[in-house]
């Protein structure tokens, strides 16, 4: 149980996918303009990461045993098709949920955070439960970073920023500061591990 909690918090804050490992930067820079959008993107991320974790477990357990060199190709194809199928199912079953998450689902399939989760899970030999906990933790971490970023950027709209620094440079400086703050969580790892 302690192990699982450790995996969860490690993935969520200490090794935050976005701020410590530089994964999933595209949505982090691209859709962090509004808090609500960021929140939905975060939820969609948690959802896709969990699905990925499940499919990676199935692949690793039953398929890739015999052909490890097909790992990358299998991951990307299976994850992309699975997300596509789930998107169709959600659209049919719950149009409300689809409006909330729908447009984000196909976009994050090609996000590097998703494939990285698959690679990490395989490399560390996580089982089904550990993999799921890791995925949910990483998802919450991504959502946390997105929402923090969006909240800061909303306030930045009101600030008087020099013309040169507008746009990506400003976002990067904010991200750097957030990343500095998250480095403070590193102590959590050594004291509990």
């Amino acid at each position: 149980m302690g192990d699982l909690a450790w995996i969860f918090f490690s993935a969520m804050v200490v090794n935050n996918f976005t701020l410590a490992l530089f994964l999933g930067l595209c949505p982090f820079m691209g859709v962090s303009g509004r808090i609500e959008t960021a929140l939905r993107m975060g939820l969609a991320n948690i959802f896709v990461l969990t699905l990925t974790s499940l499919s990676v477990w199935v692949l690793n357990r039953f398929v890739l045993e015999t052909a490890p060199y097909l790992r990358l190709i299998a991951f990307i194809v299976v994850i992309a098709s699975l997300v596509q199928i789930v998107e169709m199912v959600i659209k049919k079953v719950s149009p409300t949920l689809f409006r909330q998450l729908g447009i984000f689902l196909p976009l994050i399939t090609t996000n590097c955070a998703i494939l990285a989760l698959a690679i990490f899970t395989t490399a560390r030999g996580y089982g089904l439960v550990e993999g799921l906990v890791f995925a949910v933790g990483a998802g919450f971490g991504l959502a946390l970073a997105l929402v923090l970023m969006a909240s800061i950027r909303v306030n930045m709209d009101l600030a008087d920023v020099p013309g040169v620094a507008r746009g990506l440079a400003l976002v990067l400086v904010i991200a750097g500061s957030l990343s500095l703050a998250f480095m403070g969580f590193a102590g959590l790892l050594s004291s509990s591990g």
């Binding site: 595209c26 190709i73 976009l107 400086v173 990343s179």
Partner: protein, 237 residues
């Protein structure tokens, strides 16, 4: 500064990616590897070469097979081809430079989802003849390498006081450790972009009467993304 001709001459296909349409510094693509693996120059070089190999190989293959690829499933086909080459390059990196392979971690495998590569296939190799596609891919790889080297040099020199492992400052230099840590990556890229925007603004102001301050590329043809919102696939949201 370089005025593109009506029909783009061959050298221009090669040169445009290096600076004027640099995939990282101008189009803000492929940010994840640019930030993640540039804490030393050696890592940056290996990453640049690996990505370049995948980009050139898949551009060559895709542009020569473009008649065989049905339009509706072209993206999935591209991804499969790219993933195949990435698998190849992953094994090569692990076999030749095992230490760096360990330092790069998942990022060699993550070349699959590098938007520069898929972007060039969709924007260029899927429509153009083989020779041009290869030139374009080489140029873009060069541009990616330039960006990585720039980041890597700044971060390694300031963060560890070395260049390719060779000390550049005297023993009195106290390394700015933060530069090799994640926040340093964000800050370095931010400052590089600031410097580029600043010099572009200055140039356009002194060059000609600009339509508007901040308009960097009065005479460029389309495709240059403004530095505002980057994105591979999120631009549409």
């Amino acid at each position: 500064m370089m005025r593109p001709a009506r029909a783009v001459p061959a050298p221009e296909e090669l040169l445009k990616g290096l600076w004027r349409q640099n995939p990282v510094l101008v189009h803000a693509l492929g940010l994840c590897p640019t930030l993640a693996v540039t804490n030393s120059v050696a890592n940056a070089i290996v990453m640049g070469l690996a990505t370049g190999f995948v980009l050139v190989a898949s551009s060559g293959l895709i542009s020569s097979a473009k008649r065989l690829i049905p339009n509706q499933i072209r993206i999935s086909t591209y991804i499969l081809i790219i993933a195949t080459f990435v698998t190849v390059v992953e094994f090569i990196v692990q076999a030749t430079v095992p230490d760096i392979a360990k330092a790069l971690g998942p990022f060699v495998a993550l070349i699959v989802v590098n938007c520069i590569i898929l972007g060039r296939q969709e924007a260029f190799a899927g429509k153009q003849p083989v020779g041009r596609s290869l030139l374009d891919a080489l140029g873009m790889s060069g541009g990616f390498m330039i960006a990585l080297l720039l980041m890597g040099s700044i971060r390694e020199v300031l963060g560890s006081g070395t260049f390719l492992g060779v000390p550049v400052f005297g023993s009195h230099f106290e390394p700015w450790v933060i530069m090799v840590l994640p926040p340093g990556g964000f800050f370095t890229l931010a400052f590089i972009l600031l410097a580029i925007t600043w010099s572009a603004q200055r140039r356009s102001r002194s060059d000609q009467k600009p339509p508007r301050a901040g308009e960097v590329n009065g005479h460029r043809v389309g495709s240059d993304a403004p530095a505002a919102v980057p994105s591979c696939h999120t631009a549409r949201v």
